[in-house]
């Protein structure tokens, strides 16, 4: 545990001296802010009233932007260590391969959680504007869902970055993987037929939007996301381990 924490905190701090991380954070928060502001203005102008007290107008755009931002937050993680040769330092330190991978993931997760925490301003504003205040059920379950989805995105990213020493390759492959889990599986799920039920279970989009986004916490959904995280971190650990054999 100690090793995981040491690696995670080093990684967390590294984000604050990383220009790309700043840029993605800035645009993510900016665009979310603009979209939320727009929904408010449109609602007031067209209907003469505030939107329904639903956190969805924040979480919707936030989730969409995380699809693009998460690969950028993870592309550096192990790729850069390989490019700079510092991987040699970590792999000859008394740290287990999985501790390294989990530490990297945790560092990125804490950083993205920090970003997401900033977006909490918007539901607070909504809560303040709208009487009798925002729906608290969807607020809690929605943000829990965002945390879980983000964790899974970042898990994919860490695993992928262990395969590449090139950050761009790492970004593209992670992004592709996220698109498959977030959108493509959903399309297959809609297609009908016997296999569509399987795809509905695999589809991150429906796991998120059908339950947690609506204010409902389903155990199967939580288990699904946690197993995705564990699965990809295991893949990352195996990849680091096999790197030694190459």
């Amino acid at each position: 545990m100690r090793n995981i924490w040491i690696i995670a905190s080093r990684e967390y701090k590294a984000y604050f001296s990383n220009f790309i991380a700043y840029a993605f954070t800035f645009f993510m928060l900016l665009i979310t802010g603009i979209v939320v502001y727009n929904s408010l203005v449109i609602s007031v102008n067209s209907f003469g009233q505030y939107p329904p007290p639903d956190v969805g107008i924040v979480i919707g755009p936030l989730m969409f932007l995380l699809v693009f931002a998460c690969p950028a937050f993870t592309m550096r993680l192990i790729s850069e260590e390989q490019r700079l040769g510092t991987i040699e330092l970590l792999l000859t330190a008394p740290v287990r391969d999985w501790e390294l991978v989990v530490g990297k993931w945790l560092g990125s997760f804490l950083f993205v959680l920090t970003n997401i925490a900033i977006t909490f301003i918007y539901p607070l504003v909504l809560h303040w504007l709208i009487t009798p205040g925002i729906d608290q059920g969807p607020l809690v379950s929605g943000y829990l869902g965002v945390f879980l989805v983000t964790g899974a995105f970042l898990g994919m990213g860490v695993a992928v970055s262990s395969f590449f020493s090139n950050q761009v390759a790492s970004y593209i492959v992670t992004f592709g993987l996220i698109v498959i889990f977030w959108w493509i599986f959903g399309i297959f799920a809609q297609a009908g037929g016997a296999q569509s039920a399987i795809f509905r279970h695999l589809d991150m989009g429906s796991q998120f939007y059908d339950t947690m986004f609506q204010g409902e916490i389903s155990l199967s959904g939580v288990v699904y996301f946690l197993s995705l995280i564990v699965g990809f971190l295991t893949l990352g650990s195996v990849s680091v381990e096999t790197r030694r054999w190459r």
């Binding site: 700079l84 040769g85 330092l89 000859t92 330190a93 008394p94």
Partner: protein, 321 residues
């Protein structure tokens, strides 16, 4: 402290090291000499637990590098060839991170100590990206010794340092080598000669010689070199010299100086002198030069036949192993 037996590593179809066996004891500095691609770095990477061997056994500080990798890594300090540094950190932050990863109880104190040892105290708060190559090398060395390892493995530790720093680092290695085990690779042969108790010469993944530097030299003093300086030039002289019995090779620098390599146990100097005089050129100087470690190294690691322009003599006598 280090025991290696039958160590073999394949990268795909290429065999990087082939059946290496050697050992190093406590209080010993073992030098690893060899041309690029000889397998020095591969061997070091196996000993530090970075990667497992294809075959063979290696034990460091009593632990198997594959089965007890973490125990080995706790006891080994390693400075890789490309010094692994995080450019976004300051020297202090970097060393603190390494101390924490090594789980050192009083990390801050130890960081201050090693900063002092490598003379980097005044640059502790500089970003690593702003350091010169020599300073980076010293930070890398600090990282390798921060946990007072029983075994120190250094891949080209003095590369990129200025002469004063080289002397400092050598003194430091000598100091550490009194109580600990040091394995270092180097291209600088005089360094091996000065620092190491024992030298391993490795070529194409195999050990071609292993001995103390002085004994390696003594073993090959019989075979030596003769430098001949003449006045006036004769294009045929090189060929004639090569025909003298006991001469292995002749090279001509174009300004009247010939370097002649002689076979072990033979002294063809009088024959050489006669040949020169018979060729009708004036003999200015004839000097016998002993083989340095450098020559031994060249001799042992050479395996391609010399290009014809260099020598037309018979193939080189193989040094016995």
């Amino acid at each position: 402290m280090i025991q290696v037996e039958g160590l073999t590593k394949d990268y795909g179809a290429r065999r990087a090291i082939d059946q290496l066996s050697f050992h190093a004891e406590k209080g010993e500095i073992l030098g690893f000499l060899g041309p690029n691609g000889a397998g020095k770095t591969t061997t070091m990477r196996i000993l530090t637990g970075f990667m497992p061997p294809t075959a063979g056994v290696a034990r460091v500080a009593g632990y198997d590098v594959v089965d007890q990798s973490l125990e080995v890594r706790r006891r080994v300090g390693y400075l890789p060839e490309t010094v692994p540094l995080y450019h976004d950190l300051t020297v202090y932050e970097y060393l603190k991170f390494m101390a924490d990863l090594r789980n050192l109880p009083e990390a801050e104190e130890r960081v201050d100590e090693v900063l002092d040892i490598v003379h980097m105290v005044e640059r502790a708060d500089s970003h690593i990206s702003s350091l010169s190559k020599g300073m980076r090398q010293r930070v890398g060395l600090a990282q390798a010794i921060i946990h007072k390892p029983e075994v120190l493995i250094l891949d080209e530790p003095t590369i990129g340092l200025d002469p004063a720093q080289i002397i400092e680092v050598r003194n430091l290695i000598r100091e550490i080598g009194k109580e600990k085990t040091v394995l270092l690779s180097t291209h600088i042969l005089s360094e091996a000669q000065q620092l190491c108790n024992r030298v391993l010469i490795i070529n194409k993944g195999r050990i071609v010689a292993e001995d103390t530097p002085s004994r390696l030299q003594a073993r090959l003093t019989g075979s030596g070199r003769v430098t001949v300086q003449v006045k006036g030039d004769d294009h045929d002289l090189e060929k004639q010299l090569a025909k003298v019995p006991g001469v292995l090779s002749v090279s001509h620098n174009g300004i009247g100086e010939y370097e002649i390599e002689t076979a072990s146990g033979q002294d063809p100097r009088s024959q050489i002198a006669k040949t020169v005089v018979n060729a009708g050129v004036d003999l200015l100087e004839l000097r016998s030069v002993g083989m340095s470690l450098e020559d031994i190294f060249m001799e042992l690691t050479r395996d391609e036949p010399q290009p014809p322009s260099m020598s037309e003599a018979e193939p080189f006598a193989q040094t016995e192993d």
